[in-house]
């Protein structure tokens, strides 16, 4: 199963400059685990020290938020994950 992950510009310096990564998994959590296997440094920007998804990030599966299921939300072949960063500047 192939899932694409859009890596935000702010994370790309920790992912060898890669903009879109291919990952495997049947849930969002598994896909992110695979992403971290490929780019271990990304973990610090996605998860808190206690292993929870950072509250300043939101993940969208083919345009739909993973809320309220969270990381357990299932994904299917061809889905695209989008990591949205909470932005508050004006």
């Amino acid at each position: 199963m192939s899932i694409k992950v859009d890596i935000p510009y702010f994370f790309q310096y920790l992912a060898d400059g890669v903009e879109v990564a291919e990952v495997n998994g049947s849930t969002v959590g598994e896909c992110l685990e695979d992403l971290i296997k490929q780019f271990p440094n990304i973990k610090q920007l996605l998860f808190t020290k206690s292993g929870k998804l950072d509250m300043f990030r939101d993940i969208y599966v083919s345009g739909e938020s993973i809320y309220p299921e969270g990381l357990a939300k299932p994904v299917k072949d061809g889905d695209e994950l989008y990591i949205a960063i909470l932005v508050a500047g004006g």
Partner: protein
């Protein structure tokens, strides 16, 4: 009733099918509240004034600093140290004397927000922090005032339009999450683009034309010149809007 001068000033937009003189009259009758006179507030207020909005109230308690000038284009070197709300109002009054501009140099708080937005038809979110955005979101929903969200970071922006009782709100998107209050990177063109999109939404809403950016969070990526839309659903447990019946 539009005056002869107004008919000439707004001639090119009156030509737009769906806007016309009727839409222009509606713009003239509308009172818009802008929360913040920074990068987004400057950009949004310029184009609201140019479009002929009747009344603009701009609220900001900050003073102009040198480091603001890369993006807050209504504040100039000569305004350093001056209140941002007054600095903005000074320019807008010259830009379009037909628009009534009100400047208020106050911080927006839970205690004064109700009074600040009273009597206004629409609210533009041009803030630089999430706690005040949530205050505005909640107040807008409480008073049934459409709320036009915008935010920036670096070359990235976010925009969404919120119609109380009908569409998802800001709390539905972020669930109360807040970012640390710290200096954020930004290039001036980003709030210029985002502020203009917010005003585009305002004009469409007033004229009743086009398709609003509701239940959709627009992500503007200036570096790749890409716009991405994320679908936003009303959160049935939203602390701000779940008590309202969906009318769609």
């Amino acid at each position: 009733m539009l005056t002869r001068d107004e008919l000439e000033r707004y001639d090119r937009q009156i030509m737009i099918r769906g806007l016309g003189e009727e839409g222009q009259e509606k713009l003239k009758q509308t009172k818009v509240f802008i929360a913040g006179a920074g990068g987004l507030g400057c950009s949004a207020s310029i184009y609201l004034a140019a479009a002929g909005i009747g009344v603009i109230r701009i609220v900001d308690h900050d003073k102009v600093e040198l480091s603001n000038l890369n993006r807050q284009v209504l504040h100039w070197d000569e305004n350093i140290g001056m209140g941002k709300a007054n600095s903005t109002a000074e320019k807008l009054k010259k830009q379009n004397p037909g628009v009534k501009i009100e400047a208020i140099a106050e911080a927006i708080t839970e205690a004064n927000i109700s009074q600040l937005i009273a009597g206004f038809d629409l609210i533009i979110d041009a803030m630089d922090n999430l706690p005040t955005r949530y205050l505005l979101n909640k107040a807008a929903i409480g008073k049934n005032i459409p709320f036009f969200h915008g935010a920036v970071y670096g070359f990235e922006g976010r925009v969404m339009t919120i119609i109380p009782g009908k569409t998802a709100c800001l709390q539905c998107v972020y669930h109360g999450a807040i970012t640390p209050e710290e200096k954020f990177p930004v290039i001036g063109v980003t709030p210029a683009v985002v502020g203009c999109i917010q005003v585009t939404e305002v004009i469409k809403y007033i004229a009743g034309i086009g398709k609003l950016l509701t239940n959709r969070l627009l992500i503007y990526d200036g570096l790749n010149l890409k716009f991405t839309e994320l679908k936003i659903k009303k959160d049935p447990n939203c602390e701000h809007c779940s008590h309202l019946v969906t009318k769609e």
